[in-house]
């Protein structure tokens, strides 16, 4: 008789989820599924609103990366207005985005994942959290919390609020930077560099103790992310690139407006999170992971040819040695990639602020509706984020499609937890360490499930009664 094990709720991620592990007759793991159980309806209720209100509405999708949603939204707005925004506005938006990387990646690494990485998977679950981290490694915890605070503070300096700002608007930004604010940001950067140096050192030292995990999280897939026109690491604009596991270029640079030719979304009746896949490798087939690709820090470092700042390029070189010299395929290394991106963000902020042009006060272009469709694509900390709006001639939204970062990784997350369950599940006895590895497997992707369930959908409700031995003894279903 087939048996199901359930982990609920999955903790230390953004949002709510549960995992089911299916065993076959011989007791071996046949499949593991990540169920995303939140339901939201942004794509529905945004219809009818003016497009210039969209950054303010969509950034409410999430409290962790409102900045990313705002930027994707204002870029879609720029496209509807058909304007090229003032160059300084673009630079300010980029700083805003890099600050978001610092705070979000620091949150993922220090608050959510460091307890696993520094305390170990088999550490007592009661203290395997950020509080336990503070007790055992007070200095690391404090520095990590301050680093996240720094990212938030840069956002606040630019936009008056650290979350849910209305600063980035279609056409540019609302307020320019001044010399005083610039100096305040610049004064914070040295501490950021110091903390990220420490974190990189600690993480690299820990690889030896996670040899098993490194291989368990390793599987082939495509990678997707934005790159600059020259092929460099990019977070705000640029072309969408797809590469293979071995680093071959599948698509060197897709223009943002053509994303639908390459990305298609499938649905499963057991999760609100859609399953995007690489269309040219379709049709969709979850069990064979056809068209599966990964996005986010790992993917961005895999698809780019270079980072473009001295210290990040140096780290990128050592990162690539963990793979085949170009591509790193173990999802465990999302953590390392995340830290390299924080370093890159710090370097880019320093470099951008250095030019006095950044103080220019012409930061907003004005225009009405000049296009009936606008696509905004940015790299959010968790991966490629797409806002695709259609409007009528008065600028009222008639259709919204949001493809969020976590969604792209859905197939890969399911693959990762299946691998972990196969490796660590002995018979049908679930150990705390195994449970946490499954959760950590998900956490490596730093999924933001509140973001990813923005769409309208309907999932049949299934209530399963599970006996103590783990077998399904009764099932109620609806829908």
């Amino acid at each position: 008789m087939a048996t199901m094990l359930r982990i609920e709720p999955v903790t230390r991620i953004e949002g709510h989820a549960k995992v089911s592990i299916y065993l076959d007759d011989s007791g071996a793991v046949s499949e593991a599924r990540l169920h995303v159980v939140e339901f939201r309806a942004f794509e529905k209720f945004c219809v009818g609103r003016p497009f210039y209100e969209m950054p303010g509405i969509t950034n409410r999708i999430c409290g962790i990366c409102p900045t990313s949603h705002a930027l994707a939204s204002v870029k879609a707005g720029d496209a509807i207005m058909g304007v090229a925004i003032p160059p300084v506005a673009e630079k300010l938006r980029r700083i805003f985005n890099w600050a978001q990387y610092i705070q979000s990646h620091a949150l993922s690494f220090f608050h959510l994942s460091a307890p696993d990485l520094l305390l170990g998977f088999d550490h007592d679950p009661a203290t395997r959290n950020v509080m336990g981290l503070i007790q055992k490694f007070p200095d690391v915890a404090r520095k990590g919390i301050r680093l996240r605070g720094m990212g938030q503070e840069i956002i606040r300096i630019l936009a008056d609020k650290s979350i849910h700002q209305a600063w980035a608007v279609p056409g540019g930004v609302r307020q320019p930077l001044n010399a005083e604010k610039r100096a305040a940001i610049q004064a914070m950067l040295p501490e950021g560099f110091e903390t990220i140096g420490l974190a990189l050192e600690l993480l690299k030292k820990s690889f030896a103790q996670f040899a098993d995990e490194l291989t368990t999280y390793d599987f082939p897939s495509l990678f997707a992310g934005l790159v600059t026109h020259e092929g460099g690491l990019e977070h705000y604009d640029g072309l969408l690139r797809f590469t293979g596991s071995d680093g071959t270029l599948i698509e060197a640079g897709v223009a943002n407006e053509r994303y639908r030719d390459y990305i298609e979304e499938a649905s499963e009746d057991w999760s609100y999170l859609k399953f995007p896949f690489f269309k040219p490798h379709g049709p969709y087939n979850r069990s064979e992971s056809a068209g599966m690709y990964r996005v986010g820090p790992l993917a961005r470092l895999n698809v780019c040819d270079f980072a473009g700042t001295p210290r990040a390029d140096e780290e990128l070189a050592s990162f690539r040695k963990l793979g085949n010299g170009r591509t790193v395929t173990s999802s465990f290394h999302y953590h390392y990639a995340r830290l390299i991106e924080i370093l890159f963000a710090l370097e880019k902020i320093a470099e951008t602020l250095d030019d006095d042009e950044i103080l220019d006060d012409w930061v907003r272009a004005e225009a009405g509706v000049n296009r009936l469709k606008g696509i905004g694509m940015v790299e959010a900390p968790r991966g490629t984020l797409i806002h695709d709006y259609s409007v009528d001639r008065n600028g009222i939204i008639t259709d919204v499609n949001l493809i969020v970062s976590t969604g792209h990784n859905n197939l890969a997350m399911n693959r990762t937890i299946t691998n972990i369950a196969r490796k660590y599940l002995q018979g049908d006895s679930v150990t705390e360490g195994m449970l946490n590895r499954v959760e950590h497997g998900i956490r490596a992707y730093d999924p933001c499930l509140s973001c990813s369930t923005h769409a309208v959908g309907r999932m049949p409700l299934v209530i399963r009664v599970i006996s103590p031995d783990g077998s399904v003894v009764q099932e109620f279903s609806r829908g």
């Binding site: 009818g48 609302r174 009405g368």
Partner: protein, 240 residues
């Protein structure tokens, strides 16, 4: 000008003859909340926030449209009045779809400011969540979002009494009423609208807004009303 004496909350005060109770209160340092009232527009007593108790009167009276009389004894902040004012605000919130966090008037909205002042942080009444006419952004400069309208008619009065265009009007009754443009057409096709923007400036919420406004970006300026009304009274533009 003759002066009358009134007693407000137990304290004697004076007011010019012919003043409304609202004017009398304000001139004696007693603030009353208002939404439909705006200095420079004809008062209509619609929002019921300025209700006061007048000794001898059998019902509560809206201060903005009640003339102060010699010897009147007025209570403005009894427990009952405060309770009614809060309830009025809660009913306004439940009537349409007010989403302050993403509203263009966040920070400048009079409804929200009053709610904060009176301690209304939620509504006890079920939200009606009505289906309303679509947002009208067909006008060159202005937009109209019925979700945020409290039917105060300030826009209608400004358009009629100050600008003299009477582009805006009201259709329907009670909670079914809606601001309309001309004989119920889109704003962009109106031939009477002068695009002066007075309606947008006098709107106490985010119902009327400048097109292109993003969250919390609206700033409204009503000082022009005094200036225009004062100029007309003093015949500043008598050459006309």
């Amino acid at each position: 000008m003759s002066v009358i004496t009134v007693t407000i909350n137990g304290i004697e005060g004076s007011a010019p003859a012919g003043a409304t109770l609202l004017e009398a209160c304000r001139q004696n340092g007693v603030e009353l909340p208002t939404l439909c009232h705006l200095e420079g527009l004809t008062p209509i007593g619609a929002c019921r926030l300025c209700l006061v108790q007048v000794e001898g009167a059998r019902r509560l009276l809206p201060a903005c449209v009640t003339e102060a009389q010699e010897g009147m004894i007025i209570q403005t902040h009894t427990e009952k009045l405060v309770k009614y004012r809060k309830m009025t605000l809660e009913l306004l919130l439940s009537e349409r779809n007010h989403i302050c966090s993403v509203c263009v008037a966040n920070g400048s909205c009079e409804l929200r400011t009053l709610c904060a002042q009176l301690g209304v942080d939620h509504s006890r009444f079920e939200y009606r969540c009505p289906d309303l006419p679509p947002i009208d952004t067909s006008h060159e400069r202005n937009g109209l979002d019925h979700n945020r309208c409290i039917s105060c008619t300030r826009c209608i009065r400004a358009c009629d009494q100050v600008e003299g265009a009477h582009t805006l009007d009201m259709e329907g009754r009670g909670i079914e009423n809606r601001v309309i443009i001309d004989m119920h057409q889109t704003w962009g096709s109106s031939r009477t609208c002068t695009k002066c923007g007075k309606c947008v400036n006098v709107c106490p919420t985010g119902t009327l807004f400048w097109k292109g406004s993003t969250v919390a970006e609206m700033e409204k300026e009503v000082g022009f009303l005094q200036w225009i009304r004062g100029g007309r009274e003093k015949k500043t533009w008598s050459y006309l």
